[in-house]
Amino acid sequence: MRRFGQVTGAVWWRATHTFLTNPQFLLPSIMFPLFFFTAFAGGLSSLGDVPGFDFPSGYTAFQFCFVLLQASAFGGVFTGFGIASDFENGFARRLMLGAPNRTAILVGYLLTALTRAAIVLCVVTIVALLGGMAFDGGPLDVFGMLALAVIVSLAATLFAAGVALRARTIQAGPAMQMPVFLALFLAPVYVPLDLLSGWVQTVARFNPVTPLMEATRAFVSGGDADIALAAPVAAGLVLLFAAWALRGLRRAEAAGG
């Protein structure tokens, strides 16, 4: 167990150190969510006046919830890019050779994604609050909101890691990014689910991201989050993609790293 922790810590340290000391990685991770937040919350704010838009904390808070989950998910996708790059340039073999239990490498990458997400979310939250966003929830709601962000980050990282461990090339980037992008944007991004119509509403209704986003919005507004739906969906996504990533790791091991 001690060696497991040492390997996990080493993988986490290296990826986080690289992330924090290289502006080419750090800045886009922060700028993209801020851009989305500014563009959506600012440019589309009149959507909050549409009849039937009943989110009590206002449109800025409504969009903040999307950006929160989007930043969490994309932190995972970018971590997947890093895994694929490590395999492509051979660095992963160094990690494989140093790890008694190679699952520790995967856990290290997961911690990296969570750290990245935490840094980005801090910045986005501070900017949102400075920009006048209303947060009507209590301390428990803050915890619930952060827990959902962590779960989305974990699920996205595990999904992207599974792709990266199978493809072992950065050329698999679109295969990591596109499904996450589609899942996020086919949820109720701009307006509540009830205001969507046609096939978009049908897809959004069955999209597993939708209950997570609605629960996040409920936490921010201090409303009643549908935990009975969001919790099993969140757990299911993490378990499903954990199995996907672990099988990917076994495949990478069988292929020689």
Binding site: W13, G90, A92, R93, L97
Partner: protein, 335 residues
């Protein structure tokens, strides 16, 4: 073999790939503790695949192997704890400094926290990288990267060291430095070294024993001097003053032994009577009216061993470049 052994025992090791020929085809070999074993062969012969299997990076299709007393299939973690590995392409992060690499590697290998910095600095100094320790590796030369890779392979004081073509792409000076360090590790620290190379000189200089691999099979094995002695006879290479007399020259030489590989403008013979035939060769050439521009007597080399064992010549002795040619095997001029 006990778990305290530093040796390597391989039996019938096989590796198949789905879309390709059998990369390793039933290799048996044994490396004694503290020995430097040179694994010699051209690109694509199966050297690197063998190393990947012995270092637990690639599962074998069949066969058995024990490294440092541990089974590579069932005791992968113990094997990894006992070995140090520097693979063909130095696995370095261009965005980390040399010292940061040491920090990462010491943590990965479980070196106690209080010893990590000192161990890293010690190895960086030993490899001549102390001055560059704070620089990002992306700015290192090829030789510096190789030395750093070797330093990283040593952080946990491995009992067995695998070096996969460690000097490919290095200039002669860097090669010599690396050879000295590898030799020191084996002689002074008792580390067993399994070294793959496509450079005959490297195997000749460094290895206590050499295994020659061709198309996934071990075709010869032994001490370099023993292998050369098996070939036994020296080769005489003669350059005629008149290039048009090359064929006539070759005819005369063949009276004294079997033809050997030679450059296009020359002819060569492996003297069946050894050096005793030299005077007779000169007299025969004189009698045939063939003027000689140059002639050289070559003692048997590993190149000759390779030629004798595989029927091919392993090009060697040229300046290695960063991108090694895909095919270093050439058919002999004459056989």
């Amino acid at each position: 073999m006990t778990s305290d052994d530093n040796g390597i025992e391989v039996g019938g090791l096989v590796r198949d790939f789905k879309k390709g020929p059998r990369a390793v085809d039933g290799i048996d070999l044994s490396v004694a503790p503290g020995e430097i074993y040179g694994f010699l062969g051209p690109n694509g012969a199966g050297k690197s695949t063998t190393v990947l299997m012995l270092t637990t990076l690639l599962p074998p299709t069949d066969g058995t192997a024990r490294v440092a007393g541990h089974d590579i299939r069932r005791e992968g973690a113990r094997v990894r704890a006992a070995i140090g590995v520097a693979l063909q392409e130095a696995a370095l992060d261009p965005l980390l400094t040399g010292r940061e690499h040491m920090r990462l590697q010491t943590a990965l290998q479980g070196v106690p926290r209080r010893e990590r910095a000192a161990r890293g600095d010690e190895l960086l100094t030993r490899m001549g990288l102390a001055d560059a320790a704070g620089r990002r590796v992306g700015g290192y030369s090829g030789g510096m990267k190789r030395r750093l890779d070797l330093a990283l392979a040593l952080v946990h004081r491995p009992r067995v060291l695998f070096l996969d073509e460690p000097t490919t792409g290095l200039d002669p000076s860097s090669r010599s430095e690396l050879w000295r360090e590898v030799a020191r590790l084996a002689r002074e620290d008792g580390v067993t070294v399994f070294l793959t190379t496509q450079y005959l000189e490297e195997a000749d200089v460094l290895a206590d024993r050499v295994g020659i691999i061709e198309a996934g099979r071990l075709v010869a094995e032994g001490a370099p001097e023993t292998l050369k002695a098996q070939i036994g006879r020296p080769a005489l290479e003669v350059v005629p003053r008149d290039a048009l007399q090359r064929d006539a020259l070759a005819e005369v030489l063949e009276r004294f032994g079997s033809a050997a590989a030679a450059p296009p403008h020359a002819a060569a013979v492996r003297l069946s009577r050894g050096n005793d035939a030299l005077a007779d060769v000169v007299r025969a050439l004189d009698a045939a009216g063939i003027a000689i521009a140059d002639f050289q007597l070559h003692a048997p080399s590993l190149d000759d061993v390779f030629l004798a064992k595989t029927g091919k010549q392993l090009v060697s002795g040229e300046e290695p470049d960063e991108q090694a040619p895909a095919d270093r095997v050439t058919e002999p001029v004459a056989s």
